[in-house]
């Protein structure tokens, strides 16, 4: 098994693609490897620089990411709990990604493809590899829009509190999942994400979910841990050949009672 692990660890080196691309600005150990425990970098104005390619740290989290640890339940209203349980029982009968719609907020941070974070003075941009999507977090001091047209990623503004970037998002469209198991939300959702770059190689994100139409009170997710993917690059990922959809719909149709999903709204 050890030999196998070593071979696996070495796989991917020496290919022409940009998977092993020594990037400038990366702190390195004497052997030239990225020093992931080096201090977090800072921008010219002294703020922590969160830029980099990030992916859910699967040494700390189940890749099937749920916002809450096993056995911990979100304070769901009855209709939300019914919908959530149905999603779990059917392995995702209305999973947006099955029809190539994006992961929601904050679920996009946990996609196994990872995302590139570009921090500029007035805006931070997330480039999500899966389905080639993006999200903007405005840090120019603007307020959230009033009664905006709902969007999958909503509308995000960020501010610095010490070394944390605090991101408030509202204006969500219904249908996206909060996590891989399908915690639901309504248009009333507001999320707060607190991003902290602990060191060069790791980021922590604390998320608060506030949706009075789906949950009886605001609740906090387990701290999400992201791992930097050094010396590599994103790839295009467009949903050009969704062969699974027809069969999945047939399977779900066979297993489910007729009628739309239950909803208490």
């Amino acid at each position: 098994m050890l030999a196998l692990a070593l071979v696996c660890a070495a796989a991917g080196t020496g290919f022409a693609q940009w998977f092993e691309l020594p990037l400038p600005g990366t702190p390195r150990t004497p052997d030239g490897k990225p020093n992931l425990t080096a201090p977090a970098p800072r921008t010219a104005d002294g703020k922590p620089d969160h830029s980099g390619i990030w992916k859910l740290d699967t040494s700390r989290h189940n890749p099937n990411y749920n916002l809450l640890a096993k056995g911990v339940e979100a304070p769901m209203l009855p209709w939300a709990e019914e919908l959530y349980k149905r999603r779990v029982a059917t392995h995702g009968y209305d999973r947006p990604m099955t029809v190539c719609l994006p992961h929601g907020v904050p679920d996009g941070l946990t996609s196994p493809y990872g995302f590139k974070l570009l921090q500029l003075p007035a805006v931070t941009v997330h480039l999500y590899e899966e389905f080639t999507k993006y999200r903007q977090i405005h840090t120019d001091g603007r307020a959230l829009p009033v009664d905006p047209n709902p969007q999958y990623y909503g509308y995000s503004v960020g501010r610095w509190e010490g070394d944390q970037l605090v991101v408030e998002t509202a204006g969500f469209k219904e249908g996206s999942w909060l996590d891989n198991d399908g915690h639901p939300h309504t248009e009333a959702l507001r999320t707060t994400e607190r991003f902290r770059r602990v060191n060069f190689g790791s980021m922590e994100v604390d998320v608060t979910i506030d949706d009075p139409k789906a949950y009886s009170r605001p609740w906090k997710a387990e701290t999400m841990r992201l791992a930097l993917q050094p010396d590599t690059e994103l790839l295009e990922h467009l949903c050009e050949n969704n062969r699974d959809l027809e069969r999945l719909q047939r399977i779900w149709q066979d297993r489910q009672p007729a009628g739309p999903p239950a909803s208490g709204r």
Partner: protein
């Protein structure tokens, strides 16, 4: 050829975990972990596309008829990062595949490993099920 030394094992560490969901859809929604298959045949078509690669092989049945099986793998992005290239497996190649059959009982399955008969090269296919090793 030094066949044993030539066996190259390429892994996707992040997907070699039992029960892992595919990002695009849940493995368990479409495929049955308890329906393992070993298929040997010739590649008739390869769709090197996102969100999943599909390839098709002609498999000879015991009664002499031939079934064309459709086999899903991870995405090109996953397999490129694991060392595959788009021509690692080509139309006309003879392959042996370990897979899990689709829940609808059709001739479709999720491939866990692909072994090229010509070289013995064994390629993990990005399966969510832990390959026997």
């Amino acid at each position: 050829m030094r066949a044993r030394l030539a066996i190259l094992i390429i892994c996707i560490a992040s997907t070699a975990t039992a029960g892992r969901a595919l990002a695009h859809h849940s493995f368990a929604a479409e495929f049955d972990e308890n329906k393992p298959l070993k298929l040997t045949g010739t590649v008739t078509k390869l769709e090197w596309t996102n969100p999943h690669i599909w390839f098709f092989i002609d498999v000879k049945n015991p009664d002499g008829t031939v079934t064309n099986w459709g086999l899903e793998m991870a995405s090109p992005n996953n397999l490129l990062r694991a060392g595959w290239k788009r021509d690692s497996m080509k139309v006309g190649d003879a392959v042996a595949v370990e897979a899990r059959q689709a829940r609808d009982g059709s001739s479709n399955a999720n491939a866990q490993t692909v072994t090229l008969s010509s070289t013995g090269q064994r390629l993990f296919a990005g399966s969510p099920v832990q390959p026997a090793q």
